[in-house]
Amino acid sequence: MDHKDIIYKKNDEDIVYRVIENETLLVPIRHNAHKMEYMYSLNEVGAYIWNLIDGRTEMGAIIKNVISEFEVDPLQAQKDVSDFIEQLESIRAIRRVK
């Protein structure tokens, strides 16, 4: 994914974000491809990106934020954010709105 103006929105009807004891979790709640006894655990970067996905912020801005927050190589950051977004889409945690 290299379109930096793309915008994503969370699928609140499908997945719930929870933080319990420093564990950042995405809990699937809707019947779909997920197995109900599983959830997703986000690391610090994942949780940071998740919180930036709000249906308004473009991907380019999210990548910029990750670079400055975690002081990572821009190319690496772009790849990591793209992979993560792809994964979130595949589990229906987010959907593209622009």
Binding site: Y17, I20, N22, E23, L25, Y38, M39, N43, Q87, L88
Partner: protein
């Protein structure tokens, strides 16, 4: 870098338990939405409370507020039960609220009130576990327990409805003098239905209304309960393993509570009274007057510090103490006193041990 990893429910629970083992966290809870029930089971632990009118039960809004509090405190899975939880007209609203907060809901039901609307919703937003209690495999047996004509047919329809819509459910049975003889057939039925987690309980605990007269009449003798346990090789193997492993370990019983009650668990009754677990109901605190966190982190630790007198005197040094099913909750329901012993469980544990000892001796002789 892997920002998002798939993780099983058990893995995350174990991880959090380990991290919070010293101070506790209310990861697991149960809520009785009502004591009312459309059945009238003779052995039911709710007893006469199932006939108490609904006016003092928590309202939908009160339940929402409590759910918000337990989510904030870290609850990850919640048993929704009763009475019969589907008796409440707002069941789906409450279930939906719990589900959409990211709690894994477990629903215990008799299955007789399942309808298309509820099952459609379960298809869309499945429970983590839904468990139906089956009291018999024949109408006359089932209804001798439930005392409601037509209940067997309705239960079977409920099971069919879930099965037809592809919702995974579990079956369980509670065995007493009215239905124990159908155990193998109930188990076989569960097997045919593709149930992999079938469970049964041949040991009735006391009632929460303090009247155990009927329960003591209907409860199987320890010998009979064990005979049934041995009919299920999987269950008996687990019991045997535990006895071989822990058969010579005794607890000191300095403290009354040696389990996770009030440390990892909590229980809320239909009137908003919260206690440390579903069996250990007193002392309890009103969530209409106290916040969940106040009770869990201020009141429960004080209860967990209560010292044991009777159990310390009678159970300390008993090499079967780690295997005995007795806990303060069981004792409270049995005798009205959490710090007491239950002769029934004492006998049951000793008989189990004798049988297992004989089996071990017999195996030794054969080899």
């Amino acid at each position: 870098m892997r920002e998002c990893s798939l993780i099983s429910f058990n893995e995350i629970i174990n991880r959090i338990y380990l991290r919070t083992k010293d101070r506790g966290l209310p990861l697991q809870g149960s809520i009785e939405l009502t004591f009312r029930c459309n059945l009238n089971c003779q052995h039911c632990y709710v007893g006469s409370l199932r006939r108490v009118p609904s006016h003092d039960e928590l309202s939908t809004t009160e339940i929402y507020r409590i759910i918000d509090e337990i989510v904030e405190a870290g609850c990850l899975y919640l048993l929704i039960t009763g009475g019969e939880c589907l008796v409440r007209e707002d069941f789906l609203d409450i279930y939906s609220y719990i589900k959409k907060k990211g709690i894994f809901p477990i629903v215990f039901t008799n299955g007789t009130l399942l309808n298309k609307d509820i099952v459609d919703y379960f298809v869309d937003y499945p429970p983590f576990v839904i468990e139906i209690t089956l009291y018999g495999i024949r109408e006359e047996t089932y209804e001798s327990v439930t005392q409601v004509k037509g209940s067997f047919k309705r239960c079977m329809e409920g099971i069919k409805l879930l099965k037809g819509r592809g919702i995974y459910f579990d079956l369980k049975t509670v065995l007493c003098k009215l239905n124990y003889y159908e155990f193998l057939e109930i188990k076989e039925f569960a097997n045919k239905m593709g149930i992999t987690n079938f469970r049964f309980d041949p040991i009735l605990n006391g009632a929460i209304d303090g009247d155990n007269s009927l329960i003591f009449q209907l409860r199987l003798f320890p010998e009979e309960a064990i005979r049934i346990e041995r009919l299920d090789s999987k269950k008996w193997e687990i019991i045997e393993e535990e006895y071989k492993k822990y058969g010579r370990v005794s607890l000191d019983f300095d403290f009354l509570y040696n389990c996770g009650a009030g440390k990892n668990t909590f229980h809320i009754d239909p009137y908003g009274r919260i206690s440390m677990c579903m069996l250990s109901r007193e002392p309890s605190f009103s969530l209409r007057e106290n916040s969940f966190k106040e009770v869990f982190y201020e009141s429960f630790p004080q209860l967990r510090n209560i010292k044991s007198k009777v159990r310390k005197e009678k159970c300390s040094g008993c090499e079967l103490s780690l295997l005995c099913l007795l806990c303060p909750g069981w004792a409270y329901l049995e005798n009205g006193n959490p710090d007491s012993v239950a002769e029934y469980l004492c006998r049951l544990t000793k008989i189990r041990k004798e049988i297992i000892n004989r089996e071990v001796e017999s195996e030794k002789r054969l080899s």
